[in-house]
Symmetry: C2
Subunit: 413 residues, 2 copies
């Protein structure tokens, strides 16, 4: 069977990990930073060295292209992203882009002429230092004016970042691809969670990318002198926030299997040893595989538990911050991934993706599949992020062989 060149993939992996390398072995390549732009140039050089065509679209997405056997061939996209969070590991995003490039090289070196064009894409700003899924949203026609008007990192840093990358705000949306020109999208990614490792699985088949909703809650009580105000005369905003954080964790653990609920931030206004907290702001995020579960979670956690935690003594304000709908990935591609894994002697399991990925944008316009490989200890967004090399190669081979199956039978998509 046709497999990727492990040594060539390894060489690329180590070379890329040098770009934006941190002293402790991690990397930092935030969107459109110098290190990020350097990594993208390196990607294009590697593609050109392999005899592949390269392209950059108006959203800054960088591609390597292996053309199909006809001018009318539709395109099967394979990809991920080269940008990272500020203090990151070497695998998140990078593995998917390198495996995509390696798949194209393997097909080219084998002299195969496929009925589909293969395109390895490095999407812009997946991690969201600037906007979040900027490149894949643009390709999918989902880059709204609203999103650009209030980018995650603020307008000034958004404008500075795209200018630094040589992009123009007015032309970002021109990166939209005609769905009729696409045959599908495949992405290899590390799991970023502990499920595959704990279950002893080689390959994860993503069924659904979870939706998420986030909220900013404010608990307000009475800011008073901690020395002179008896315990029973207090209206302590921190105690309300603490009750809320524990209630969310207990309720989601006990009654919403497969969902997560996180209080990721809790800030005491003007904190001091000798002052009872009068105002506390809380960041909450809920994730679930279906919109129905998100509705139920929201009703339970935000409408019900927050009010209970505030009780009669505290005022409560709820601000809805973010909302991403859950999306199911293509069922026939899921079957294909399982078949390919079995053929390679690998164990596979279905899996929910709790994290967001470029695949969630692409799934809106073309049949999409995602392959996960195990993250040791479930660690990600950290220099300690690690996936065993054997698992990286397994994932790259699954990606290649799913692409070959889809390319030879594009009509089944």
């Amino acid at each position: 069977v046709l497999l990727v060149d492990e040594d060539r993939l390894r060489e690329d992996f180590l070379a890329l990990a040098e770009i934006g390398r941190l002293p402790d072995g991690g990397v930092s390549r935030t969107s459109f930073s110098d290190a990020h732009l350097l990594a993208r140039r390196w990607f294009h050089e590697r593609a050109a060295a392999a005899g592949l065509k390269t392209r950059v679209d108006t959203a800054g997405n960088h591609s390597a292209v292996l053309e199909g056997n006809s001018p009318d061939s539709r395109t099967l996209l394979l990809g991920s992203h080269l940008d990272t969070v500020p203090v990151a590991g070497r695998y998140d995003g990078a593995l998917g882009v390198l495996a995509a490039l390696e798949a194209l090289r393997t097909v080219k070196d084998a002299g195969l002429r496929l009925p589909l064009t293969l395109e390895a894409v490095d999407f812009s700003d997946e991690e969201g230092t600037v906007v979040g899924l900027l490149g894949s949203f643009a390709v999918s026609g989902m880059l709204t004016q609203d999103l650009l008007a209030s980018p995650r990192g603020g307008r000034p840093s958004f404008l500075a970042a795209i200018a630094h990358a040589g992009l123009s705000e007015d032309r970002l949306s021109d990166a939209r691809r005609d769905p009729a020109s696409l045959a599908g999208y495949l992405e290899l990614h590390i799991e970023q969670g502990p499920v595959l490792e704990r279950g002893g699985f080689d390959i994860g088949v993503v069924t659904t990318i979870a939706g998420s909703r986030s909220y900013r809650l404010t608990f307000e009580g009475a800011r008073r002198h901690a020395g002179t105000t008896p315990m029973k005369a207090r209206r302590d905003a921190l105690l309300g926030a603490a009750r809320f954080a524990l209630a969310v964790s207990d309720a989601v653990t006990d009654r919403f299997p497969g969902c997560v609920g996180t209080v990721g931030g809790l800030e005491v206004e003007r904190a001091a040893f000798n002052v009872i907290p009068g105002c506390v702001r809380v960041l909450v995020e809920l994730r679930a595989p279906t919109a129905g579960q998100l509705d139920a979670l929201e009703a339970e956690v935000v409408d019900h538990m927050a009010r209970d935690a505030a009780g009669a003594d505290l005022a409560l304000t709820v601000e809805r911050v973010g909302r991403w709908e859950p999306i199911d990935l293509d069922a026939s591609i899921q079957t294909c991934i399982v078949d390919v894994a079995n053929e390679l002697g690998l164990t596979a399991t279905n899996l929910l993706s709790g994290a967001g990925h470029d695949a969630q944008a692409l799934a809106a316009i073309t049949p999409t599949g995602m392959v996960f490989v195990p993250s040791v200890g479930g660690i990600s967004h950290d220099p300690a992020e690690y996936t065993r090399w054997r698992d990286c190669v397994n994932g790259a081979n699954v990606l290649l062989r799913v692409a070959l199956r889809l390319a030879q039978t594009p009509e089944t998509l």
Copy 2:
């Protein structure tokens, strides 16, 4: 009976409230700020206008002096402070200094020649923008090298502040007063808590100034992706901190009557919606009237409950930050305050001071008494701080008449 001149006291109160006045009616006169220095000059001008002598010591304490009937007369200090927290009300500290000045003027205008010198003192930096009790510690000989080496606001701002006030670090300790030269210390202050108002009392007689101990706790778990880490695979540092905050409040309320325990701060390191908190720092303060209760509280809260809250999953670090011992005030002065209040037709009750005051420094070297008047709603350290004018006048009259009693019978001290 001899009473203070209410109108003159009121005029001073309103004039002082203009110095450092905030738009919402509060004041800001942090230690050695321009507003604070202006208030001190104004105090000396008012003293001089009344024909009193003035003095400034090497710790910046400002006094008005009415000499006794002999060169050997010991000094009865009456005082409080003119500095404030950054956003303050008009009563905390100011009332005590103005009532002390008014007491001296009343005695002087009545033509009384007492066997004690009366000195109205405005102590430096009670609130601790710079060091905390800087002036009264200096007078009591308690200004240690340790305290000056790590001042609350940091060395650079300490050095800048004392330079701005024209003080020299080397000479601060020279403000120490010989205990043999002192007859006692009396301080009128607002309660800053709700006890007098709730009980319907006119006057509070402080029996003890509570001791306090403060701690910085760090809970450490695992910083992980909130979307990909199942609820049962988490080591969430915020949940440990939340359990701790609730346990402290419940335990102190239920099992330590008369004590307080406060989590005044809780900070999530690198907080984000989509990251499980890996490291959370907590500020805790315990206050109690006796060292034995502080020991018991510390054993329960810090050694026991913090460990329980961290459980097996979280690492816990405890740093001891501050420690002030409780101090009992002079018993015969307490009796004298009650007698004087009754004589004036005022109701009085014994009371613990949960807040720190200059009196706790003076109590170490001379018989000390404190008189409290009610704070409406228990509000303090806030522009909404308010004490009814009738209560302010009652407090000033009690201060005057206790001073007269002590001055005429100094040997009972």
